[in-house]
């Protein structure tokens, strides 16, 4: 084919774009990936854990060759109030043996590796070129452009929008607008350098193994959001995420929230002596099921963050899975030589039946929880801390009395009915496990 015509153009070489390109290139689809960063991953941020599924389906035993940091053997949920922390930890060395617990990774290393897999399979990868517009013909997107003139245009039978939460492709094609401030969180993250031995002793792990800590509660001043500390080989990824609309209400700068999180008594000792190497910030889709735009429209398939497919903390997973499914559908479209929206809508159908949409549906209350944040991110955490502080203090008051005092507090401050309802309908939808 010429240099201006492909079967499919994929915009963005993040996990979604590379998964789509890899899937297609392996099945003989002539595919071009256009990435705006100088290299894949240059513009990308995630917390960072990569999971065994679905990457293993694309690259069997990927952990033997991918640039990964540590195997996660300790999964911890920590509920913070202002001073205290209540942790739920699951620790199992077997998770490491079988690669079941996921791996921490750094996007600046992982994304180039993944994009290279697509390139090796035959995809043409172009970096350092931001797509600025789509080419519309009779209401259908027939290509994209990176600048003025014919020389900066490329045509395709279908376009995959894998260009992230602000998706230029979807916006220029008129498929969706920019996300609302209550549909996106702003995530800020620092990479903090520490000697590997220090990380291993602080997180009680062997070489190459590590822990992931997810924090809720007083992390974000009672507003919906969370924090995390993940162990990399010789760094920690430390970050917070808060809904953009809430950040606007708080009138805080994102890094002020991060600084506060880092100085929390539960968190500070984990980071002590570390040197900040990098600072990153990015928007994260948090609108859940309700915010998903048309997934197939005008010859464009939306995948990953562009499709608002992102459930904390599995954004990368959702991205890869959706990219893979879109890739399969497009490969079949090529075989049947039918790239009509009707044929491509198979993507939506298959996604509905997959883990991706099942999870998004299961967590459909996610958005509501984030909006009714006071109870979840303020009231419950401080109640838990108050009760536990009392229960672990041995002061001659018998435990029976303490327990009934605790029950009284729950009854007065939230009410059993509300607690049960929250537990039943909402808490399950925000837990990352």
């Amino acid at each position: 084919m010429g240099s201006d015509r492909f079967d499919v153009v994929v915009v963005g070489a993040g996990p979604a774009g590379s998964a789509a390109a890899l899937t297609m290139a392996r099945q003989g689809v002539d595919v071009c990936v256009i990435e705006r960063g100088e290299y894949p991953g240059a513009k990308n941020v995630f917390g960072g854990v990569v999971y065994k599924w679905p990457l293993e389906k694309l690259v069997p035993k990927f952990w033997e060759s991918a640039p990964l940091e540590r195997r996660m053997i300790d999964h911890r949920l920590v509920i913070l109030d202002k001073e205290a922390g209540f942790a739920l930890s699951f620790r199992d060395d077997q998770l490491g043996e079988e690669a079941r617990g996921g791996f921490t990774a750094l996007r600046s290393k992982f994304d180039p590796w993944f994009a290279q897999k697509a390139e090796e399979a035959g995809a043409v990868l172009i970096t350092g070129m931001p797509v600025s517009d789509v080419i519309l013909q009779d209401g259908r997107v027939v290509g994209v452009r990176t600048g003025e003139g014919r020389e900066n245009e490329v045509y395709a039978k279908a376009v995959v929008a894998a260009d992230g939460v602000m998706s230029t492709v979807l916006q220029k094609a008129g498929i969706r607008g920019p996300p609302n401030p209550d549909e996106v969180a702003i995530g800020v993250k620092e990479i903090v350098e520490l000697p590997p031995e220090t990380i291993e002793s602080r997180f009680n792990a062997k070489a190459g193994r590590g822990a992931r800590l997810e924090f809720f509660g007083a992390v974000t001043k009672g507003k919906a959001g969370g924090g995390f500390v993940y162990t990399n080989t010789n760094t920690l990824s430390v970050g917070v995420a808060v809904l953009l609309s809430h950040l606007m209400e708080l009138k805080l700068k994102p890094y002020e929230l991060l600084d506060e999180f880092k100085s929390h008594p539960y968190v500070a000792p984990l980071l002590e002596g570390g040197k900040v190497k990098e600072y990153q910030a990015h928007l994260i889709p948090e609108g859940g099921y309700a915010s998903i735009p048309p997934l197939v429209s005008k010859g464009v398939l939306a995948v990953g963050d562009a499709a608002m497919l992102c459930l904390y903390p599995e954004g990368t997973n959702m991205a890869m899975a959706s990219g893979m499914i879109a890739g399969e559908v497009l490969a079949r479209a090529k075989k049947n030589d039918d790239f009509s929206d009707n044929r491509l809508s198979e993507y939506r159908k298959q996604l509905e039946e997959s883990y991706v949409m099942k999870e998004h549906k299961r967590k459909k209350n996610y958005g509501a929880v984030l909006k009714n944040d006071k109870r979840f991110f303020n009231d419950y955490p401080s109640l838990i801390a108050e009760i536990l502080r009392e229960l672990v203090t041995v002061d001659g008051v018998d435990k029976g009395a303490k327990h009934s005092e605790a029950r009284k507090k729950i009854r007065e401050r939230v009410g059993y009915l509300r607690l049960l309802r929250d537990l039943y309908s909402d808490v399950w939808s925000v837990l990352p496990w």
């Binding site: 240099s3 290299y39 240059a42 043409v124 172009i126 600048g147 020389e151 900066n152 245009e153 490329v154």
Partner: protein, 267 residues
């Protein structure tokens, strides 16, 4: 009128806009700094492309360096280079300008060329020596700081303008010739999307020490052992003295600032 063969030696350098200094040692932090095509070399590529557009011909971009430097060559191909060559071998490592120029010359001697265009210098080493040294090894004349080129194919000569600090010289010379291209030559173009796509479909030719030996290169002039330059010490720039901060009431702080400035006779 024949077509012109143009060779453009280029270098991949650290992206200085991303360079940081270690706050304690003041040494350059090279780790994690992306590499780019030396900005000065873009002018050399621009001159080559314009000549090719005018007369037709063939542009060969060439570099010596580690395999990562292929990326800079790919950019040259995206701009319009027809061929790209990388001289890459451990034996070439740590070469000074003399050894670099020698190594490049061994390969360039084996291909036809009318012009060799270089950048003024590389932004990392800042010596500006490789171009003129390369001309010496090739046994051809060279002109630096060229801002305008007129080619006369009947006499196989050029008439060029050479940029000076306040004005310019006009020179005439026969070709083959090496010229380093000044910024005043004109704004270098950016690669296009289709240029990048076409570049991806071309191969970069890799040349090793064994290949160069077959071409008559003497290995004792390659790399570190072929480099007469010896750098006894590198001094980081001295730390800047800390500034003064006046805190507290803005009016009072401003008064102190004005006082300090007038003491130094600055206001």
């Amino acid at each position: 009128m024949g077509e012109l063969n143009i060779v453009v030696p280029i270098k991949q350098v650290p992206d200085v806009s991303e360079l940081r200094l270690d706050p304690v040692t003041h040494a350059l932090i090279r780790e994690g700094v992306p590499s780019v095509l030396n900005p000065y070399d873009r002018y050399a590529m621009e001159a080559a492309i314009r000549l090719k557009e005018q007369f037709g011909g063939r542009i060969t971009a060439i570099t010596m360096g580690p395999m990562q430097a292929k990326k800079a060559l790919q950019e040259c191909m995206a701009l319009g280079a027809d061929e790209a060559v990388i001289l890459s071998d451990r034996a070439f490592a740590a070469a000074d300008t003399w050894a670099t120029a020698y190594t490049l010359s061994v390969y360039i001697k084996t291909i036809p060329y009318d012009f060799v265009f270089t950048g003024l210098k590389a932004i990392d080493g800042e010596t500006g020596q490789v171009g003129p040294e390369l001309a010496e090894f090739l046994g051809i004349p060279h002109i630096t700081y060229v801002r305008k080129i007129e080619v006369d194919q009947t006499t196989r000569s050029v008439r060029v303008e050479r940029q000076l600090e306040n004005g310019y010289d006009v020179w005439e010379a026969p070709y083959p010739i090496l010229m380093s291209i000044a910024r005043e030559y004109g704004e270098p173009r950016l690669p296009t999307l289709q240029g990048y796509i076409e570049a991806k479909r071309k191969q970069v030719k890799v040349v090793t020490v064994a290949d160069l030996q077959k071409m008559g290169g003497d290995p004792k002039y390659f790399g570190l052992k072929g480099s007469p330059t010896f750098i006894p010490k590198v001094h980081p720039p001295p730390a800047r003295p800390p500034g003064t901060v006046w805190e507290g009431d803005p009016k009072e702080a401003v008064r102190k600032l004005v006082e300090a400035l007038s003491e130094k006779g600055l206001v």
